[in-house]
């Protein structure tokens, strides 16, 4: 009984360790954008 628990714990740890080192495919930035205060009022008139 206890051996089964230990085996399960060991399997879970190995599984966690495998994931932790990065077997998950990488995330990525699909698109980026920005906003500055200067964009809010950009207009000029020649006189």
């Amino acid at each position: 009984m206890m051996q089964g628990v230990y085996d399960l714990a060991a399997w879970l740890f190995r599984r966690w360790a495998t994931l932790r080192v990065g077997t998950v495919p990488p995330y990525r930035v699909e698109a980026g954008d920005f906003f500055t205060a200067g964009q809010a009022a950009g207009e000029s008139h020649a006189t």
């Binding site: 994931l19 932790r20 990065g22 077997t23 998950v24 495919p25 990488p26 995330y27 990525r28 930035v29 699909e30 698109a31 980026g32 954008d33 920005f34 906003f35 500055t36 205060a37 200067g38």
Partner: protein, 133 residues
């Protein structure tokens, strides 16, 4: 299909601030959620046009911790701030320049780099190259 790494380019005002946004997805093109990110920080670097490897950290904006709960959204935001496409964004951060200027020199390029550490997997780099006017 291969996907090259790329930066987002922005023009900012000297001694001004900016709000940076991005849509970050996983390998299945599903937008990430807050629970995916364990920690986040950002740095602003002054770049040297003659040396692409020369990154000089800007005082007060070097490895600054970012509140994940206020920066990464569980649902994609679609509003007028986002102008790139109709897909919206799930990452947004406004540079706080109340104590330290982020872009102190006009006519220079800066790199704003966010580093998001997921609970599992490799770090996510979200980068913006800015030119100060």
């Amino acid at each position: 299909m291969p996907r090259d790494a790329r930066d987002t380019y922005a023009t900012v005002q000297k001694n001004g601030s900016a709000t940076f946004m991005a849509r970050i997805v996983d390998a299945t093109d599903t937008p990430i959620r807050q629970a995916v990110i364990d920690a986040a920080q950002y740095s602003v670097y002054l770049l040297d046009d003659q040396d692409p490897d020369s990154w000089t950290p800007i005082a007060g904006h070097d490895r600054v911790t970012v509140d994940v709960g206020q920066t990464v959204f569980d649902h994609v935001q679609v509003d007028p701030l986002w102008t790139v496409d109709t897909g919206g964004y799930n990452f947004q951060h406004e540079l706080d320049i109340s104590a330290w200027q982020a872009f102190p020199l006009a006519g220079r390029h800066y790199l704003v780099e966010y580093t998001l550490t997921p609970t599992v997997g490799q770090v996510i780099k979200v980068r913006f190259r800015t030119y100060a006017i």
